[in-house]
Symmetry: C2
Subunit: 480 residues, 2 copies
């Protein structure tokens, strides 16, 4: 699992739990140094934090003190840590770390956000991770995915899947998606649909096509940090709009629109991450009226589409894809690793979006798109989604009971995959303490455009039913 590859300190390779293994081309010291580098990157070891003593580290990892000294030397050489006389080794501030060549551009990527995001990928070993952003692996339908791929490999024209393919994406998948979108009332021609390497790529294509540095963009707050980070990297100004249970706060949005003339508004309308809330029909209508009056685009990220009741309104359905761009994918229902996502756009934008796709990746893997088309065409995805939704309903019920019994308050009514809860304590510190215990949390500051202390956190209903987790949570809360 991906989880294992990230933080070997807490999730060692299965063969040799808790210790390092000698393997080709990397000494034990190099491996140990790499582990610390990763933890520093992920901010699990924050600037100023002290590394364990040489003796303690040697004991934990089952290596000689000499190996630890060699590893710490490498971290020193990389400028990641500094030695303080008589006190030990400490993580340095990122801005004090060296970069070469000397003229490396001053444009700093949003390291902080991405470091946190990487932490989210890390998981914390084999335990269920309440901070996880996807369904747990054992909820996925592996036989379905495997058999579908096999069928694509034995199809009539397997050579097709080896070629670059259509710049807009596999035609069969785009046909199937057009049919699927009609279920939500979103009427898109296949030629309005462009596939992408996951919904993230679709959002990136849109941002790159429609935005220039200095543009203003409305975003929900809270929302998923990747979106903030990407927009920040593009040099645009974020205009956070508080998310109410019904959708964006319309009064705040109207004021921001007046003051800043935004170019677009990016939102998750249905089963919003992290609150689980969905846009009401009335709010959707008001947002579109604002967009029309002030001439901005709406980007509707419908990543959680398959977990939602079909009746929930989509802005793209109201608007007929005139002013909205619709984005979705399959990472939250079929397979994050296939990286199949897509967008549906107004016809007038399609050509420019395909241009941006060509410049970013030429095309996308036809093989995986054809397999996805099969899943859609034959109803397999629909049946799988129905099972998942049912299972998730049960998990949500159990998790809500456990969470409330442990003093958590749901800020928005529990729905979909995520719960947004108030813990009553600073969740950044809480997440750090829980991580030391081997549990991954998703603290609230991950979801804010401006970093600030918060007592909120996001929990994944599918992975937070474990009584052991809540016992650990109670212990850590008590210590604080």
């Amino acid at each position: 699992m991906a989880a294992r590859e990230f933080d070997p300190t807490t999730a060692p390779p299965p063969a040799s739990p808790g210790t390092l293994a000698r393997h080709a081309g990397q000494t034990l010291a190099e491996q140990l140094a790499a582990q610390f580098t990763e933890r520093i990157r992920q901010r699990l070891l924050a600037p100023g934090a002290r590394l364990p003593s040489v003796r303690e580290c040697a004991r934990r990892h089952g290596v000689s003190p000499h190996t630890v000294v060699a590893a710490y030397d490498q971290l020193l050489a990389q400028g990641l840590v500094e030695a303080r006389r008589q006190r030990g080794f400490f993580v340095r501030d990122a801005q004090h770390r060296p970069a070469t060549p000397s003229s490396a551009p001053a444009l700093t990527p949003p390291v902080d956000a991405t470091a946190l995001i990487r932490g989210m990928f890390a998981g914390a070993g084999d335990r269920p991770a309440p901070g996880l952003g996807t369904l747990p692996p054992d909820w996925l339908d592996l036989p379905l995915l495997t058999s579908t791929l096999r069928r694509v490999l034995t199809q009539a024209d397997p050579v097709a899947a080896l070629q670059y393919g259509h710049p807009s994406g596999d035609p069969r998948l785009r046909n199937a998606l057009a049919v699927r979108l009609a279920d939500f009332g979103v009427r898109a021609e296949p030629r309005q649909i462009i596939t992408a390497t996951g919904a993230t790529h679709a959002l990136d294509l849109i941002s790159r096509t429609l935005l220039r540095p200095g543009d203003a963009v409305l975003v929900d707050e809270p929302a998923w940090a990747v979106e903030y980070a990407r927009l920040t990297q593009l040099g645009v100004r974020l205009l956070p709009v508080p998310r109410t249970p019904d959708g964006p706060d319309l009064a705040v949005m109207a004021a921001l629109v007046q003051a800043h003339q935004p170019r677009l508004y990016v939102t998750v309308s249905v089963l919003h991450n992290p609150t689980g809330g969905s846009l009401s029909l009335g709010t959707a209508h008001q947002v579109l009226k604002l967009a029309e009056a002030h001439d901005f685009w709406v980007v509707e990220d419908d990543t959680y589409a398959h977990l939602a009741p079909p009746h929930l309104p989509r802005m793209a359905a109201l608007d007929g894809l005139q002013r909205t761009l619709y984005v979705s994918g399959f990472s939250k229902i079929l397979s994050p690793g296939w990286r199949v996502g897509f967008l549906a756009a107004p016809q007038t934008l399609v050509e420019r979006l395909v241009d941006t796709k060509l410049l970013s990746t030429l095309t996308t893997p036809a093989l995986l798109e054809q397999a996805m088309a099969l899943c859609l065409e034959q109803g397999a995805l629909r049946r799988h989604a129905e099972r998942v939704v049912q299972r998730l309903d049960g998990a949500r019920q159990r998790t809500v009971q456990l969470a409330e019994a442990h003093g958590c308050r749901f800020v928005t009514p529990p729905a979909g995959l995520f719960g947004w809860v108030d813990t009553g304590t600073d969740t950044e510190a809480l997440a750090q303490a829980m991580h030391d215990d081997g549990w991954l949390l998703a603290p609230g500051h991950l979801f804010h455009a401006r970093r600030q202390p918060t007592t909120l956190m996001r929990i994944n209903f599918a992975t937070s039913q474990d009584a052991g987790f809540w016992r650990a949570y109670a212990r850590v809360r008590q210590r604080r």
Copy 2:
């Protein structure tokens, strides 16, 4: 094949050559309109060009005149063509076409370049396409690719391929790549390697990470238009350096460096596209000295690595990945459609590059990367590449004879996949005329940073051995 999807006018579905077929959800008129839209987009019908008369078009496509009128009406409604009284329908200028909302940003993507690139994808039906940028499909080892994918599906931990995977890319592939790079003398640790959705994506990640609008970038001229287009879209200034048989013209490069302080130099060092030339050891050394003295990065695109003799020098080998970023992939040897590429970068840049990757696509499809790792580990790729090189040697010999017999002069000594030839006539017009005959060419203006008339064109040695092509070429040349 992808070729068919693009220009159905010249490459109709196999079932009904030359005519349109009624299929679900699209009328004949809509299909016909879509075909013209595509041709206009690809600039096969340039602004000002006249559409065929209604009667002629109806005859060609085997539909009623009424259907043609309906299709032309759709093109009119889309603003793609205009009706001129008594004269017929003419393609409008792109800038006169409508866009909504009215405030669509003024940033125009390099439509011209990408339109041409799309044409390159199109092919011209089932005939061999001398303008093709890849190996023809029947040169690929389909059984190898299929059996490798099957093996990945039945491996010990198939769940791993469903998860997001490591942000840097599949660890097994990165290990295999590190071993492979050592063959060229490029010493990269697996942690310096980042996978991408094809080499194009790797180049895009580098540009986005290192460049800001207004930066100056050295590029080869001629070179592949996608690179020019991407850099232009990022708002950087291109500094074209003429490509000599030995590599970049050093005197021009030195002068440009003095005058513009470029941030980086992007080049294909080995089997350069389109000239087929490779960097000499001496030129490589001089370029690196310039880069060091003037503090710019070198991006070495080694897309044709597998077709080259192993002894050809790579700048990343000379430089030890200090100031160079190495990019390659498998589109030119195993499968364009898998979209597996990678970069190897100085350790100090890795973290920022991974950040950019996370923001652009989160991760890349682990399944295809694991299959690629298998191909590398077991020597299958090496054996396949040896067979391809041998076959290409024969094809090159035959093509050179045919080309020279038809008055083409090789500007650089024939090598690798591409020949760069002087035809003695304007190749843009030549390509247009040949396309009407069903042959895809790659005219020289595709490879120039500043569009200008040229008598040069690129031919693919694997797809230009057909005597029928050269007969058609001779006919078209004679008419001109």
